[in-house]
């Protein structure tokens, strides 16, 4: 089928099947995460996920054999354009789609792909990521959660931390230690049902208030042996691959969530104007500098996308995005809070505009942007070593 035909058919299908309510901006509260206990803001959201999932268009480029869309990259580009054209919401947000699925396609057995991919695509199982541990943050490969071979099953003991939505997820993909005599080569990648006896979760309150993060305690958790993905002790390669998927989704999706306030408008209202310029000259210049930095970042994202579409190699740009996205988001929220003065430092209650309260929380939450998913310092290490070719210390 030619791309023109594909575009025409896609446009017609979307016209019929994308409910009007799904063509509006997505508020964070209305995100559909799917899962056994899926909640939908309304019936249209449920319908939209069902229809897109049935076509495999929640995972457009995954093979149709597992329920994916089976689209070629060029067709997917057309689909994304058409979705953007009508302002369609993503029918599903999912760590299964963004992180686990891509590595399962690459490293999983045929049986595993058939077992788990269709439910990811349809949003029936919600996944969480068991990576970090209290003693293994940036140095992730030092993780210590033990996984022992007990003949017909694995027995897992340990603790995971910063597990997003562990309390709401159905299954976890998890890094465990299967060999204590080797560091990177002693790690395996397993998955298990969160209902397994011995799995406990506890939410973590952040400086910004409630959060999706949890601690996950694993005590004598029995995991069937066919739930090992890839080779025994071969989990680090999978882990690293998955992190690149995670960084991509963090830098393109998660930051810059709407506070509902435009920096310049807020500054004009809160600080006031003198002779047509912001009355605080120092703040004015810093806002201008920030906005130019933000624009430079967006232009770089677009340049990389254009180069990637044209078949160019953008590996040298990839580690830059997460670093720059975190920095831009943090600068914006610092400026926004400063712009609002004490009005931007309210914690809760009717005394503050809801947008201002959101600004406070987002500002505090943004401090984590340069920590989660690889700290900015780790990002710079990656740039220095992988992109610039600087040597390791001896």
């Amino acid at each position: 089928m030619s791309l023109e035909t594909f575009r025409r058919d896609t446009r017609a299908w979307l016209e019929t099947n994308c409910p009007a309510a799904m063509r509006t901006a997505l508020d964070e509260k209305e995100v559909v995460w799917g899962g056994r206990n899926a909640s939908f803001p309304n019936d249209d959201a449920r319908l939209w996920l069902e229809r897109m999932g049935e076509r495999g268009w929640t995972a457009p480029t995954w093979p149709a054999a597992y329920g994916g869309g089976g689209l070629a990259p060029a067709e997917n580009a057309v689909l994304q354009e058409e979705l953007r054209r009508i302002g369609a919401r993503a029918p599903l947000w999912s760590f299964g789609l963004w992180m686990f699925g891509p590595v399962l396609l690459e490293f999983g057995s045929e049986a595993q792909k058939h077992a788990w991919l269709p439910d990811i695509i349809r949003g029936r199982i919600r996944w969480c990521q068991g990576y970090s541990e209290p003693g293994a943050g940036s140095d992730l490969a030092s993780l210590a959660t033990r996984c022992e071979d007990r003949g017909d099953h694995f027995l897992v003991n340990g603790q995971k931390i910063w597990t997003s939505y562990a309390d709401k997820a159905d299954w976890m993909f998890c890094l465990v230690r299967t060999d204590t005599t080797a560091k990177h080569a002693g790690i395996s990648f397993i998955v298990f049902d969160m209902r397994t006896p011995g799995v406990e979760t506890r939410p973590i309150a952040l400086i910004s208030g409630e959060s999706p993060f949890c601690e996950t305690f694993l005590t004598d958790v029995r995991v069937p042996k066919d739930q090992l993905v890839g080779q025994l002790n071969g989990g680090w390669e999978i882990a690293k691959r998955l992190l690149t998927h995670e960084r991509q989704s963090i830098s393109t999706a998660a930051f810059g969530g709407g506070v509902g306030l435009d920096l310049v408008t807020a500054a004009q209202q809160s600080v006031g104007l003198m002779c047509g310029q912001l009355a605080d000259g120092d703040l004015r210049v810093r806002i201008a500098a920030f906005r130019m930095q933000e624009r430079a970042f967006h232009l770089t994202v677009r340049r990389a996308q254009a180069e990637a579409r044209a078949g160019g190699n953008i590996d040298h740009l990839a580690p830059l995005f997460k670093y720059a996205a975190a920095s831009v988001n943090q600068q914006r929220l610092e400026l926004l809070v400063e712009t609002l003065g004490l009005g931007g430092l309210g914690w809760e209650g009717d005394g503050f505009h809801p947008d201002a309260l959101r600004a406070t929380r987002h500002w505090l939450r943004s401090k984590g942007n340069s920590i989660e998913g690889g700290t900015s310092e780790i990002n710079l290490n990656v740039v220095a070593k992988r992109v610039l070719g600087l040597p390791d210390p001896t």
Binding site: L278, V285, A288, Q293, A296, A324, E377, V383, A384, L390
Partner: protein, 399 residues
């Protein structure tokens, strides 16, 4: 939007880099400096012969018609080795001014001459040490059959060597009418013009110009008096964008030089580039350079897009395409300021870091880092510092 380089553009970029690296490396700048000349005229003829001087000149006027992005790639390549040549003032600023302001007759007379390397231009705009296009005192007074120019220009790049000077002056189309900026093409040999070469730290030629009763004919006015002010702003934006491309090239090459030093200089039994504090400084420079590259490419693209728009506006003059062109002019101005400010900040950072990371050798005249540092500050200042463009950017956005 930022488009990937076409095959032709990649080819041009490669050949320009190769040419400048071989024929006009930093050694050539040292030779010019030793000989006390601002640039090597033989080199300029070679540059013209390669089609670089006419890169942005339409084919109809004897150029190669490759567009602004292509010229930007050439300027970037020239910036890498600090090439001193009339490229910036003639191939970029002069062509932009004649294209935007000139009559058909002037285009036909001057553009082929620039493309052939026979005519060189220098824009005489600023009258002080800072870029201030709104503070111009130079006046052109109406006389029978022409104009009389009176005033001074300071720090004019290529001002001592250009065959023609493009002088911005206030003039009134009719006696008593309000004055606005117009541009006059003055021959370098004109009576009443005194050029005083300035020895700048970066060894590139600048000059102060004194104009005392310099008389030019009517056909020396680019376009017509009273109608140049808005278009001149566009010419300056073109200059800023091309300059940003040259600055990107300088920053990129200096960063490569520094990176090489980090990998080869050994202290404490290892390459100093193995130390994390230095790795992070290098990585930050890389991030900065890549963000700047995106801005420069986007701005060059916007120039090509605007050229497309203005051509179609010209050809369909009466059909009211002005809304699109007004929008593209506004976005061009803000992209120009973005590119110039970012290139300035990046080159500033990289030039300071280069000297520091090279240690003592970076302080020596024999090493190139210092030449880049000196050139950096001149380029950062020319056509508006990063601070000037941040202020302009805020004004353009209404705050």
């Amino acid at each position: 939007m930022t488009r990937p380089l076409t095959d032709d553009q990649r080819l041009l970029q490669d050949s320009a880099r190769e040419f400048f690296a071989e024929r006009a490396s930093v050694k050539a700048l040292r030779a010019d400096r030793a000989a006390g000349r601002p640039f090597d005229p033989a080199l300029w003829q070679e540059i013209a012969a390669l089609g670089f001087a006419g890169a942005a000149v339409p084919e109809a006027y004897g150029g190669s018609g490759m567009g602004w992005r292509s010229l930007g790639l050439v300027l970037e390549a020239a910036g890498r080795t600090l090439v001193a040549s009339p490229l910036l003032q003639s191939a970029l600023v002069g062509v932009a001014a004649i294209e935007a302001l000139g009559s058909d007759a002037q285009r036909a007379a001057w553009l082929p001459a620039i493309a052939a390397g026979e005519m060189t231009t220098a824009l005489g705009l600023d009258e002080g040490a800072h870029h201030a296009p709104s503070r111009i005192a130079m006046r052109a007074v109406r006389e029978p059959g022409g104009w009389r120019l009176e005033g001074q220009k300071r720090f004019v790049p290529d001002g001592a060597t250009a065959s023609h000077l493009l002088i911005a002056a206030l003039a009134a189309p009719t006696p008593g009418a309000p004055e606005s900026l117009s541009v006059f093409c003055v021959a370098g040999s004109a009576d009443g013009l005194v050029r005083k070469p300035l020895a700048m730290a970066d060894s590139r030629g600048m000059a102060d110009l004194d104009l005392t009763a310099v008389r030019v004919a009517d056909d020396a006015v680019l376009g017509s008096v009273g109608e140049a002010a808005t278009a001149l702003e566009g010419v300056l934006d073109t200059a800023r964008i091309g300059l940003a491309a040259e600055m990107l090239g300088a920053a990129d090459a200096l960063f490569a030089l520094t990176l090489d030093h980090l990998k080869t200089r050994r202290q404490f039994g290892q390459p100093i580039g193995a130390f994390q504090s230095l790795q992070h400084r290098a990585a930050r420079m890389f991030v900065d350079l890549e963000l700047t590259r995106s801005c420069v490419l986007a701005a060059l693209d916007a120039l090509d897009d605007a050229a497309g728009v203005s051509t179609s506006v010209r050809s369909a003059a009466a059909q009211g395409a002005s809304v699109a062109s007004v929008a593209s002019v506004a976005s061009l101005a803000s992209l120009a300021s973005l590119a110039k400010a970012r290139a300035g900040d990046t080159l500033h950072l990289v030039s300071n870091e280069a000297v520091q990371l090279h240690g003592g050798v970076g302080m020596t005249d024999a090493y190139d880092a210092g030449l880049y540092l000196k050139r950096a500050r001149v380029l950062e200042t020319l056509y508006g510092t990063a601070g000037w463009h941040r202020d302009r950017s805020a004004r353009l956005d209404g705050y």
